[in-house]
């Protein structure tokens, strides 16, 4: 108890509170700009933390991480350009809601869900860190495969009556993820001698292209809304009322648990958490057909999950010294510059520091509410700009954001090619979201399947009959069959009505 009181005194110093607020602001702004992200922000800030007290420095880095994970959703909602990959799923319903003139509400749902998801995961991290880290480490390839399949089954819910097109889009995404050097055998797949493709198709340019460039080309062709119409739009962030939040309680709670659990797993970060959060929200909804049209659950589901993953990812970092995501891997550097080695010994040697980080992350999530409102307001002003000006700005940010990933023009061309694909998908009514889901989850699905089957000597029984993996797979397959059944029932009813 004394440790907690001492940690509280450390965090509630004006200097510490200032660094937490600064970190959240920096993270949110970086997250909202395509091409910049919280990983980059934490990496750049590490040298500055060297001169600070370890607790202040680490709180600053953790705050950047929290803010950055939320920030991406601002541009995803307002412009359909996810500032960070973990925000891509938020745009599925956030952007349609903004297009209906409810950008303020969409931002409000995103901010509140992020804060609640973040607070939940920090609470879990504080209470049961060591125990959770041990459970996370028992996950093996079959469990990862089952998780990926469960998230992929979302595709069957996204297509509505056009399920065939949704599956085609999903398969194209999964296929794009196979391009490059095969991780297990080093075989060169579909690169056609292009060195730049050997590293694979990075999903960030693909996401930016499919959503942003597809939209710009479609708007250029339509010619609607290019001038004038947007000038009178008022975008002010509206936080959801208590009653509205209570309506979303199960979505938020489910996604918070999913996000925290996924965050704990090493190598599976906030992006996967967001997609699985979205997938499960659709699966448990009574109206799955409404997703993609701008429903609050479609924003809350992924947004709660991706921020819950931040706390989750800190669990293996602090308890075992294993990073749960790219940003936490960078944060290890923050510990090392102060001569600290994250891991179980840190709880014994530096308990006050550990508990200060827990409390700092809690405070960071509360500050995110204010930082989110401020940054969202700042970016929302761009939505008032007419599309004939905004379109070229988005294009340039999309190009430079893609170039910045590996300093390679190939990523920019991938972005443009995916933009063309996104345009034709839109034109011929193929949903884009399944392609992105396939691209994000493709490597995890393939590698966990092949490695897992290798482990079980290519026997399906031992691969599928593990308790956790088996349960997840049964639920996933069951939901696909239910969706197929629902679609056929609806089609049957429709044709019956036609006959009558």
């Amino acid at each position: 108890m004394d440790i907690w009181i001492s940690a509280l005194q450390t965090v509630f110093q004006p200097t510490m509170l200032f660094f937490i607020l600064l970190g959240v602001m920096i993270g949110t702004v970086l997250g909202a700009i395509p091409g910049l992200n919280s990983t980059m922000g934490t990496a750049l800030l590490i040298p500055f933390t060297f001169a600070m007290e370890p607790a202040n420095g680490l709180a600053l880095l953790a705050a950047v991480y929290c803010g950055g994970t939320f920030g991406g959703s601002i541009s995803a909602i307002l412009f359909n350009v996810p500032g960070a990959p973990e925000a891509a799923a938020t745009g599925f319903d956030g952007y349609p809601m903004a297009q209906k003139g409810k950008a303020g509400e969409a931002l409000g749902y995103a901010i509140m869900s992020s804060v609640l998801g973040g607070l939940f995961s920090v609470l879990v991290m504080t209470l049961v860190s060591p125990q959770l880290a041990k459970v996370g480490l028992t996950f093996s390839q079959p469990e990862y495969f089952a998780l990926a399949v469960a998230a992929l089954t979302l595709i069957s819910s996204l297509g509505g009556a056009g399920m065939g097109k949704a599956f085609i889009a999903g398969l194209i995404g999964l296929f794009l993820a196979t391009i490059g050097i095969d991780e297990m055998t080093a075989a060169d797949r579909f690169t056609f001698g292009t060195k730049a493709l050997m590293g694979g198709v990075n999903f960030i340019p693909a996401i930016i292209g499919a959503f942003a460039i597809g939209e710009i080309l479609a708007k250029a062709e339509e010619g609607k809304g290019l001038s004038g119409e947007h000038l009178n739009i008022k975008v002010s962030t509206k936080l959801p009322k208590i009653a509205e939040l209570l309506r979303l309680k199960w979505t938020i709670l489910r996604s918070a648990v999913i996000g925290t659990a996924i965050g704990i797993l090493p190598g599976v970060g906030a992006t996967t958490a967001a997609f699985i959060g979205y997938s499960e929200t659709v699966r448990w909804s009574k109206h799955p057909e409404k997703f993609g049209t701008g429903v609050p659950e479609g924003i809350s589901g992924p947004e709660t999950a991706n921020n819950a993953a931040t706390g989750g990812a800190m669990v293996p970092l602090l308890t075992l010294g294993i990073p749960g995501s790219a940003t936490t891997a960078v944060i290890i550097g923050g510990f090392l510059v102060h001569g600290l080695q994250p891991g179980p010994m840190l709880f014994i040697n530096q308990p006050k520091l550990m508990y200060s980080i827990f409390i700092a992350m809690f405070v960071a999530n509360i500050f995110m509410l204010f930082a989110g409102l401020f940054v969202a307001k700042l970016f929302a002003n761009f939505r008032k700009v007419r599309y004939s000006i905004l379109g070229p700005i988005i294009f340039v940010f999309a190009a430079i954001g893609s170039f910045g990933i590996r300093n390679d023009m190939t990523d920019v061309w991938i972005m443009f090619a995916c933009g063309l694909l996104g345009y034709f998908f839109k034109k011929f009514k193929y949903p884009i979201a399944p392609m992105i889901i396939g691209l994000v989850l493709g490597p995890l699905t393939e590698v966990s399947l092949r490695k897992g089957m290798f482990m079980t000597d290519y026997a399906w029984g031992p691969f599928l009959m593990r308790p956790i993996a088996g349960t997840i797979l049964v639920i996933a397959v069951g939901s696909v069959l239910w969706n197929l059944y629902s679609v056929f029932i609806k089609k049957g009813k429709a044709s019956l009505e036609e006959v009558e």
């Binding site: 700009i33 055998t185 075989a187 010619g223 000006i389 290519y458």
Partner: protein, 165 residues
Amino acid sequence: MLKGELIFGLLILAGSLLLFWVTGSFQKQTALQGAQMGPSFWPRFLLGGLILLSGIISVGVIRRIMKEKAWGESLMTMDPGKVRFFAAIGLSIAYLVLLPVLGFIAITPVFMIAFMLLLGEKSKGWIIGVSIAMTAIIVVLFTKAMYVPLPRGVWLFREFSLLFY
């Protein structure tokens, strides 16, 4: 529209067939000969699914075309929207080709001005102001604040870019 959808479906089908054929060369490159799930296993599974589904979708579209007697619809009618669409693609390709040659700072304002004019923007002040201001903001934010490099171009353009970043 239906004919366009059919062509898109058939392109997916043809592309999948071609790529399925390409997977035949993967096994030769790997040291793990005889492995049951080699490098071609997963892509073949996906491409097989694509071939099957795009075939079914294409047959469905053909049936709709026959039902609606839409074989006569023309694909090549050029309205102002299509002209703007193709011009936007041309302009974008030109920008992406010239970006590594002329560098970000030299080509971006020109591209933005051309794109804004193409999308029908009329205010000269906005066109010039936004294109110069956005280029400057991106240069400062990416190269000075975040140390993310931007394309510098070659020859004289590289020297010009080096004056700024």
